[in-house]
Amino acid sequence: MNIQVLGTGCQKCKSLEKATREVVAQNNIDATITKVEDIVEIMKFNVMTTPALVIDGKVVVKGRVPSNEELKQILTTKIYMI
């Protein structure tokens, strides 16, 4: 699974990246996590509110930092709402 965290470096973007790494490590999820900070790259996802979480090229969360519990659900079941 390819996970991307989109964010230009604000506080919330950092917490989303941290939370994602935590959840992935705790649940032994096989994933590569990359942080996308370049605004031009972020715009390619048509995201206007950062931070955003992208799984395999699909935007699954934007503009907020979900709880670890919700993140776990998103990452393990791939059921999500934007």
């Binding site: 230009t8 604000c10 506080q11 919330k12 973007c13 605004i39 031009v40 972020i42 715009m43 390619k44 996802f45 048509n46 995201v47 206007m48 509110t49 950062t50 699909k58 935007v59 503009g63 907020r64 709402m81 934007i82």
Partner: protein, 339 residues
């Protein structure tokens, strides 16, 4: 099953909130006079009474209104707002953008992607500016605190004049045709395709979003509220009442422009600035001057300009500051003159 739970919790909490809120004054009196057994009329007693009444009052207002604002905002996403504003170019577009700026969730850290997303998809520059001015300036925390400390009239004045500034400033920027002062790469950036269907959010989910908003905002601002009220309670007895009158009073003609000029580079969140404004007014500053100061602190700030510099050239940033700052000064003068 879980869905009903959230609605029931919210329904139970609302009357509890109401009962406590309407009885705050007797409750705080009971606590100060009976539980602590302090002597009425003493300076310390009255300062404590002020704090014990004022702090829960403002906090409860914040919780209630942020909760509802959180629910309302779940209906307004940046994507929907953009869709509503696409292609709108006349005065109508500015009005809509300023109004949507109040209800659309906004964080200054998202200003750049939002600006790009708007401009790229055909929202006119001036309309985008109306949104970018209204969104931070008319902030729910500022409005609640103004209401809590000065009543609904001042809160209403703040919303009305803030909207007017956002609408007119955006309209002027649109008329001036300043697209040439937007960085070239902005118009060259390609944005990806929209995600397609937005998933339906259940009402129970929206209630959770309301609770989340309360948690997020109250945890961030409560300390400022405490500090502001403490300063208010402290300044009450120790700073002479007319202390600010000679500096920020009605008769000091340069007070408004000076306050705005000082306020522009400063940045503070609304929770921090409103209590300061309340002390200024109590100590003799005029309402117009104090409101102008507050608006310039919230609406314009050095960090925001540094962020916007990525997409706007310097002349446009300066024009933006001049137009919004000018609008704020007019509001300040108008109030000093009429009230």
């Amino acid at each position: 099953m879980k869905s009903n739970k959230n609605q029931i919790i919210a329904l139970i909490l609302l009357p509890v909130w109401y009962v406590i809120y309407t009885n705050l004054q007797p409750l705080s009196n009971l606590f100060v006079d009976t539980a602590l057994g302090m002597t009425k009329g003493e300076k310390l007693t009255e300062a404590l009474r002020f704090f014990i009444f004022e702090f829960p009052k403002v906090l409860m207002l914040l919780v209630l209104i942020i909760f509802f604002v959180g629910i309302v905002r779940s209906f307004f996403t940046a994507e929907r707002t953009r869709k509503a504003l696409e292609g709108k170019s006349t005065f109508m577009g500015n009005i809509m953008a300023a109004l949507l700026g109040i209800v659309t969730p906004f964080c200054s850290c998202s200003a750049i992607p939002l600006f790009l997303g708007f401009v790229e998809s055909g929202v006119p520059l001036g309309v985008t500016f109306s949104f970018l001015i209204a969104a931070p300036m008319i902030n729910e925390v500022a409005v609640i605190l103004l209401y809590g400390m000065f009543g609904w009239k001042v809160a209403g004045i703040y919303i009305g004049t803030g909207l007017a500034i956002a609408i007119v400033a955006g309209w002027i920027i649109g008329k001036l045709k300043l697209e040439k002062w937007v960085e070239e790469w902005v118009y060259a950036t390609k944005i990806g395709k929209a995600d397609g269907v937005e998933e339906k959010i259940s009402f129970s989910r929206r209630i959770i979003m309301g609770f989340d908003a309360v948690k997020e905002i109250v945890s961030k601002v409560w300390l400022y509220v405490v500090l502001g009220i403490l300063v208010g309670a402290g300044a009450h007895g120790y700073v002479p009442a007319e202390f600010m009158a000679s500096i920020m009073g009605k008769d000091v003609w340069y007070a408004v422009p000076l306050s705005v000029l000082i306020g522009i580079p400063l940045y503070s969140n609304a929770a921090g600035i409103v209590p300061i404004v309340s002390v200024l007014i109590e100590k003799g500053a005029s309402l117009g001057t104090a409101l102008a100061f507050m608006m310039s602190v919230i609406a314009l700030s050095l960090p925001e300009m540094i962020i916007l510099r990525k997409v706007l050239k310097m002349p446009l940033i300066l024009t933006f500051i001049a137009i919004v700052g000018g609008g704020i000064m007019i509001v300040g003068f108008l109030f000093n003159w009429t009230m």
